[in-house]
Symmetry: C2
Amino acid sequence: MDQKEATSSSVSTGLNPVEIRSVELFREGAKLLGLPKSMGEIYGLMYVSQSPMSLDDLVRRLGISKGSASQGITFLKQLGAVAESQQAGERKMHYQAAVEIKSLIAGFIKSEIRPHLDATQGQISHLRDEAANVEIEEDREFYEERIERLHRWTKRAKTVLPLIQTVMGG
Amino acid sequence: MDQKEATSSSVSTGLNPVEIRSVELFREGAKLLGLPKSMGEIYGLMYVSQSPMSLDDLVRRLGISKGSASQGITFLKQLGAVAESQQAGERKMHYQAAVEIKSLIAGFIKSEIRPHLDATQGQISHLRDEAANVEIEEDREFYEERIERLHRWTKRAKTVLPLIQTVMGG
DNA sequence: TCCGAAGTTCAAAAATAATTGAACGATTCA
DNA sequence: TGAATCGTTCAATTATTTTTGAACTTCGGA
């Protein structure tokens, strides 16, 4: 009983040391990307799992709720980070991590970054409209310069995205 | 009294429409980057301000506490997103937004991204050590392949960073 | 050296986000 | 059809993060 407890969450779920570290690593990675840690944990365990896992496997081994596991899987699926695989004979669905960085990045960009960038460009339009109404010429011109600059930022960002995909993926 | 309230936080602090929208835009941007919204608000207001602002200006115009303003400024300074400028005759310090995207990105990478990447590489080393201890050869080799792949990710990420700086900044 | 303004710190409070778990619909099998 | 297994949903709970505000340090001037 004086065996040191594994780190934080993995109290006694039978994860081996590699699994524990992978879960920790991706948990932190998830937070870095602004995602719930449970999603990182799910991906982290799958990442070092040789066989596809069922939702129930995740619940038991990570000690998370069915709800979390379900939401996590759903999100990771639409991100393209996990793939479904029907196991022969089994009724329940199984999932495995997509480990190609290329597709991970593509998915993240498409579903997390691009929409925000697009929304931002919309907001910048509104900002332009407001600036156009400013009476004082000096102010208006100052605003317009700043807004123009902002707009250039977003255009460049849109340029950079495919570049990142290429460099990281190739 | 039936004047529509400005959006959410800017209740009656006398922000003009351009300022309101800029604050909103950067507030959202901050959250996207995983930073407290108050920091986005501070930068957003400075971004469309022609003259340097004091801490007190921020407190009054954004309606945030002195503590938040102070912490926000401190953080933005070390990020390189705001610069100090001593106003002639004034005792209190004034600040203005650095608007060069180049320096913003450089600062963010240096103080937010690089450290995490470095930490990640350290964790991957530990992961390697754990994997080396795995008895079953098949498992060990599987782990080693996955870990190798992870390591390649981080190496590529480190390659991409300067590239982003170049493309966004130039 | 004393006063007051400027800015920082950090524990407590408030706001926000994530997780749980119970209820539900869907699907399979007998 | 009925029972059992899966997976989803979402309101309530819990955990985490952010903000506040009061106490504190620092510094310049009188």
